[in-house]
């Protein structure tokens, strides 16, 4: 989808497409530089991660379809934690400050990234957002990605863990339909379980089965941000991840999310070469 909608290019990396000063022949320059976008993204992601690591801030990337309850989960998490962890949120949406406003209303720092047309966050957009947050005062940073089950899976933001939400209104075969996304998940959350009684067609067991069929060992937790059911297990996961992250930091190590390589970097194996002889032109 991205080459047709132009979503490779975000406000965060647009500068990479600008020709060097004084260069008048625009010609192939953008194409040439575009080539490196993903490489640049990965480099920026490493820089971001080093920044999180220097302040020991566990950073979690929340991904899902639009409307599966990412912001509601964050609201419920903030209430449940009740100040026991210092957290902040980066919100990604195409437009509006609505989600960041919801987080701020609970007294938690939030910065909204509006991506315009881009359907995912990238490492450059996150870097810009970091200027608006004080990492010194944080234990955990949540990045709520743009609601989309395709592109966000491929862009490393420099975060440490991927959490994928699947709400019970969506169909329990989502992991089978979007294997690249769900294979990237370090944790799958089945959300909105309070309305399960009205949705007999959704089976949490089947959803988890679809995840297991992707050879994923990621835990699958069930919760409702509205009723609070299942929140304890999610909070426990969070604490346990924070504990192992801090342990890793004591060893000067970091943790990386289950980001799939997606063959984004062309394998450097030597291709087979075939020669076709053609008559010399006159």
């Amino acid at each position: 989808m991205c080459d047709t909608c132009g979503c490779n290019i975000t406000d965060g990396n647009r500068h990479l497409l600008t020709p060097p000063k004084g260069q008048t022949n625009f010609g192939n320059t953008p194409a040439k530089i575009l080539n490196n976008l993903l490489l640049h993204n990965d480099q920026q992601a490493d820089t971001n991660r080093a920044r999180f690591d220097s302040k020991c801030v566990l950073t979690i990337n929340l991904m899902s379809s639009p409307g599966s309850g990412k912001t509601a989960l964050l609201e419920a998490t903030i209430r449940k934690l009740n100040g026991s962890l210092r957290i902040a949120v980066i919100e990604g949406d195409l437009e509006t400050e609505n989600d960041a406003d919801r987080i701020r209303a609970l007294g938690v720092p939030a910065h909204q990234i509006t991506t315009g047309t881009a359907c995912h966050l990238d490492a450059h957009l996150v870097e810009k957002a970091l200027d608006h947050l004080n990492l010194d005062e944080l234990d955990v940073l949540f990045i709520e990605n743009v609601g989309n089950l395709v592109c966000p899976a491929s862009f490393d933001l420099g975060h440490h863990r991927n959490v994928a939400l699947l709400s019970v209104t969506e169909g329990d075969d989502k992991p089978a339909k979007y294997p690249v996304m769900f294979r990237a998940a370090d944790l799958m959350l089945i959300s909105k379980t309070d309305i399960l009684p009205y949705l007999p067609e959704f089976s949490p067991d089947r959803a988890e089965g679809c995840l297991r069929n992707l050879a994923s060992k990621a835990p699958a937790l069930r919760l409702s941000s509205k009723s609070g059911e299942g929140l304890e297990a999610w909070i426990a996961w969070l604490h346990s991840e924070l504990k192992s992250y801090r342990k890793a930091r004591q060893q000067h190590e970091t943790v990386k999310p289950n980001v799939q390589p997606e063959g984004r970097m062309l394998h450097r194996a030597e291709p087979e070469i075939r020669f076709v002889a053609v008559k010399k032109s006159a």
Binding site: C2, A269, R274
Partner: protein, 117 residues
């Protein structure tokens, strides 16, 4: 996704090969795409028509070959060719498997036109 930037990566390698072998032009490029690569063959092909413009591969055709996932079972050791939505061992039904093929993007073959002498 991001097929255009991937195509630029392809073009870089192809252009370099053409230069190294003193080719006059590139006539065909073959790419293998794993079904779990997150890359859509049709989009890659259409992105290629943009990426090749003005290069030594301007007239080149891109052939894409889709590669099904291959897993090896951690329980029984069997290898199975599977579908992207089910990476389960076909021999014993275990889902404790490792993907050994199917998430890659490989430049498999390049056909170069060279002057006959």
């Amino acid at each position: 996704m991001h097929e255009l930037s991937l195509c630029q990566d392809v073009m870089d390698q192809v252009t370099e090969l053409a230069r190294k072998h003193g080719a006059r032009s590139v006539s065909r490029v073959k790419i293998q795409i794993g079904q779990l690569a997150g890359v859509e063959p049709l989009l890659l092909e259409s992105a290629f028509t943009i990426a090749r413009a003005g290069t030594v591969a301007e007239q080149a055709e891109m052939i894409t070959e889709v590669v099904a996932p291959l897993v090896v079972c951690n329980a029984c050791g069997s290898e199975s060719e599977v579908t992207p939505s089910s990476l389960v061992c076909l021999a014993c039904g275990n889902n404790d498997t490792r993907l050994i093929r199917g998430d890659e993007l490989i430049l498999a073959r390049v056909e170069l036109e060279v002057d006959e002498d």
